[in-house]
Symmetry: C2
Subunit: 321 residues, 2 copies
DNA sequence: GGCAAGCATAAGGCACCCTTATGGCAGGCG
DNA sequence: CGCCTGCCATAAGGGTGCCTTATGCTTGCC
């Protein structure tokens, strides 16, 4: 209050003390200080104090103290209606926003992840949790919870981020994928068979690593790291029978399970980077966070289990430093 | 807060902390905590504190802290509009009520006083003070400022009331009044002439006292005290030439000044009771109170001066116990 | 006449909130 | 590239506003 006292005539704040307003509204509604105090969880004396405060501010009585009751003065009546309305509005919008916050869930995910993995599964989550309104926001860069209005994020990376809770969704592998028709037509049975197959983006480094892991020379050497978007496009092409795509099978578990995609040959290499569920640790206990967390972790497990075991493959993509 | 802590789950109050709401509204308007603090006369740290408080209550961020600025989250935007509106409404109705309180003036007066003395003069006050809205409320009993919504009152009595500021408007006298025509027609010159004149309510004690004061016997002895209403009726009758009324000439100074009434003979007795301006001493300094006070005291002086000097008459009505 | 209901008032204490002070971060600028 | 500035977060500390308890007063009711 020191600043307010700097000027001799403290410019009267346009707004009355709002705590007193709240008390007045309750008192006006009950026409009874004691009852108002009960509603507000305070004593009758406190109500009396606040009402007096407000009356001093207005400069006139708002209640007439009659023997067994208090009644509003004309001035008090003038105040009570609009104030009650305004406080009701404030309460309403607050409840609405709290409710929205409680139910709306904004998820940030990489475009590819959102399209290929998340959205096909999200429908089921919506069915199981109709009260939660899920919004997916795609972005390319890592999200900062302090700067972006996002509840949780699906990240792709090595893990170990500071300041966030991160739970691994699934480890990533790289394996050649194609349609079952293509595999049959080309008689793909063992890794070396791929050397004569139409590879999609054969210059990508993942192909080289994959072949090298088997002691084979890649048909075309290249050093380009494959972007996730390119990977998704390649898989789309592969799914139309245009060739074999080197991709993360976990991302396409649905297509594999549905028979639209198969492993061209049974060999996968490990990616040190994984997909993670990431969220602010402070919000761990929130219902909606927990709910989504449990669901997506279960989905990730299911997706992993739906794939042939790829254990034993070495981590050759994104080697640690 | 002790009462709120009684129950393990303190039933979440429907309303958010209103002080925080006010701060939030300013911060949202400025999109700048420092500026909002200046507007509210507090420091940036305090703003930050209050915003955090509100965010904790909602359970979500309302502002995104970006390097050089803060911006509202979608949730914050949802809040800002309605809250700003509500606070504006509160401020509006408050200013309106303060203004009304500052300008509206409710005067309590006895019916007779209001009709015969106050209202003819009030028009002039309204002309001189157009910004003040005067309301006259008539009542028969003495007003209690704590119980009735009245700014000031005109009382008739002995004075010396506890707890109120009382200023004497004018002392009261009793004198016989009639039309000048009646006085001429009956050749009323000295008090004894009234013994043959048509007296209105001759049984009233004031007549007896008046005659006794002159050493005369009243034509009809009676002990009834005259009600003010009866007095006014008698004066009305007198003004129509129906007789001579024993009344308080101060109340009819206008009619006397206008020549509609004259003293039937030049003799008055004194009433110990007077008319007083009464108001709560706490409100002495209020502009509208002071304004009306000054005006009505001046009017009372003028009304007294307009009458023939009635000094020297003894106080025989309402003798002190 | 005692009792209950209801509000005002005084005294006292604590919690809240504000201030001061400091640090971090990013952008602008020389 | 380093300094400065604008802006916010955070910690520590203190003052006071507000609430509670206790008491008194008035009135209406049995």
């Amino acid at each position: 209050m020191l600043a307010a006292m700097a000027e001799p005539p403290p410019p009267p704040p346009k707004l009355p003390p709002l705590a007193a307003v709240r008390v007045f509204e309750a008192a006006a509604r009950h026409q009874n200080f004691t009852r108002a105090g009960e509603e507000l969880g305070m004593t009758q004396a406190a109500v009396s104090y606040q009402i007096r405060l407000l009356e001093d501010r207005v400069g006139a009585a708002l209640f007439l103290r009659q023997p067994r009751q208090v009644v509003l003065t004309p001035l008090g009546q003038r105040l009570a209606g609009p104030l009650s309305r305004a406080l009701h509005d404030i309460g309403s919008v607050f409840r609405a926003v709290c409710e929205e916050n409680r139910t709306a869930l904004t998820i940030s995910a990489l475009q590819t992840m959102a399209i290929t993995w998340l959205s096909p599964r999200l429908a089921q989550f919506q069915i199981e949790n109709p009260q939660v309104a899920v919004r997916v926001r795609t972005s390319q860069h890592l999200v900062d919870f302090a700067t972006e209005a996002v509840d949780l994020a699906l990240r792709y990376g090595p893990g170990g981020w500071p300041g966030v809770a991160a739970e691994k969704l699934f480890a990533c592998h790289y394996a050649p994928l194609c349609t079952p028709e293509l595999r049959e037509r080309l008689h793909l049975r063992e890794p070396a068979d791929l050397l004569r197959a139409p590879l999609l983006s054969p210059e990508e480094s993942s192909w080289r690593v994959w072949f090298a892991d088997l002691g084979l020379d890649a048909p075309r050497q290249g050093g380009l790291a494959m972007s996730l978007e390119m990977q998704a496009m390649n898989v789309q092409a592969a799914m139309r029978g245009h060739g074999v795509a080197m991709a993360v099978p976990e991302l396409f578990a649905y297509d594999i399970a549905a028979g639209r995609l198969v492993f061209a040959v049974e060999h996968a290499i490990r990616d040190r980077w994984s997909y993670w569920l990431v969220y602010p640790p402070a919000r761990q206990r929130e219902h909606k966070i927990r709910r989504f967390r449990d669901w997506i972790l279960a989905e990730a497990r299911a997706a992993e289990l739906a794939l042939p075991v790829m254990a034993g493959s070495k981590g050759l993509i994104h080697p640690s430093s």
